[in-house]
Symmetry: C2
Subunit: 313 residues, 2 copies
């Protein structure tokens, strides 16, 4: 084929899943951080992982086990090109196991890259199903709440997992996201285990009132409503135990002008939404200072909502 | 006072609460049926209930016990006019205990009437709180999911009950509602009792995906999405036991072109949403025929979504 020498570099965004009131059904993408993947055709007959940069050696280099190469292998099988040679190079630009959709960003970047090399042979729904397989490999569960916003950009609702039904929602123009990643470890698998399997119906009613309010707030660009809806009486009280001083952090973020604050995915990263960059920067500073006062280092990112998803760079 | 001889007649709409995927948080109003209330000042010093028409004698005539007069008494207390004479006359234009918000329509009509006589002294939030007290009297629980859409019109989300936070949602222009009321008895209090108090988290996640999808569908005017979201795996499987052949009725409604079908409130009325009046009429016919085949008489109503709430007539 004529495109054997093609090489492509793709960026895919970090994502905030759950967004406080939308456990397992809601997520959004940010402009920064994000991962980058280079993919190129080779004259070999398999997928190779040339290198991983920036992961401090924690990710597997076996192409069958690393999610990026694994989803590319599955992509090739899916389109009947399993003997095609592809070389992958992954640039981790965000911490692994942070709760910011690290594996999803890598996976989506890899799939977007290979699909672009194949001139968009698969549509986004097929890519999402492949990306969810990658999540299963990385996290033990094939959830869609990081890969969907990483793939589509913006706020994404996963209305249904079986069958997969993802809805790209409206993005209020002023929203800015603060992401703060404390250097403590929370395993997604572990974080899921501590959640109760049975919940009171009356709590569920409160929760679906809030997710409904949040969605409505997005469409109306009603920032107060978005903020009032960012409450979670089911998951947050349990998961927040893993994040030192969580409720003090939350209060400080709200006092600094956040419209809402919560755990990003299953943590340990936390996030805030606010209405302008200055406020968002103030929030990250206050939260980082609080972590520092407990001898916890952290990284922070301030970003608009990413609306376009992955892109060739 | 100069307005002692004033008399006013008000219409308030029937409502469909829950709307399949929004148990206790969602409802909408229809143009027909609805209740009517006449209110006039008298030179007495209390609230009197002159007559109730169309209730077949089932509603209490004691002004303290009938919800309409009871909420008017509370209204007068609220504004410090407890010694004012008011005469109420209620025209029930819909069946009692039907699941179509019968008590809410009467209550809202009464409150809107007295508030109009007092030149809108209270705002809609105060009126809603008074209306919820009326619901407590009628149903044993002070729910807002019928009184809110009856008061505001359109689709209404009750994001939170404590504190009360109601959001008027977008109304897709083509939506038509079919309401069919079979002549069987389901008591709201009883219907609530059979619902489990603990539910699986994974079912709750499915439910909040659906309510989020439904809200998104309203704003996008995406009728397919509205229809796909009208699923309830928590309440409907339990309550539907009280409605003979419920799942056959649902299948027939969908086969006749309904985008969604479910129990109105706690039943026994059922409702369908569709995209035009002809389809809505076809659905009511098919459902009524099925009830008839089981020797169950029924009433039916076809109506656009009521967008204005109560009005002086």
């Amino acid at each position: 084929m004529s495109n054997d020498s093609k090489s492509i570099k793709v960026f895919a965004p970090a994502t905030v899943a759950n967004v406080v009131c939308g456990f397992d059904v809601l997520g959004f993408a940010v402009n920064t951080p994000g991962d980058e993947v280079i993919a190129r055709f080779t004259d070999k007959k398999n997928v190779t992982l040339k290198a991983i940069h920036g992961d401090e050696g924690v990710l597997p280099l076996d192409p069958e086990k690393n999610t990026v190469s694994a989803v590319v292998i599955n992509y090739l099988k899916r389109i009947g090109e399993e003997n095609r040679g592809v070389e992958i190079e992954l640039f981790k630009k965000m911490p692994v196991g942070s709760g910011m959709g690290s594996s999803a960003a890598s996976t989506v970047a890899g799939l977007f890259a290979i699909n672009t090399l194949y001139e968009n042979r698969l549509d986004y729904k097929d890519l999402l199903l492949l990306a969810m397989e990658g999540e299963r490999l990385a996290c033990g569960q094939g959830h869609a709440d990081n890969v969907s916003p990483a793939m589509l950009g913006g706020f994404v609702l996963i209305r249904s997992h079986h069958p997969l039904d993802v809805i790209k929602l409206s993005v209020p123009k002023q929203l800015v996201c603060s992401l703060i990643h404390p250097h403590i470890e929370v395993q997604t698998r572990e974080a899921r285990k501590i959640i109760r399997k049975q919940i009171p119906l009356k709590d569920a009613v409160v929760q679906w009132g809030n997710i409904a309010g949040f969605i409505s707030g997005l469409y109306r660009e009603d920032y107060d409503l978005i903020g009032r809806s960012m409450q979670d009486i089911i998951i947050e009280p349990v998961r927040s135990i893993l994040i030192p001083d969580f409720y003090s952090l939350k209060q400080k973020a709200l006092d600094s002008g956040a419209i809402g604050f919560g755990i990003s995915g299953s943590g340990p990263a936390v996030f805030a939404l606010s209405r302008d960059e200055q406020t968002a920067k103030k929030i990250t500073k206050v939260i980082q200072q609080h972590f520092q006062s407990q001898d916890i280092d952290s990284d922070s990112y301030v970003s608009l909502i990413n609306e376009e998803g992955p892109k060739v760079i």
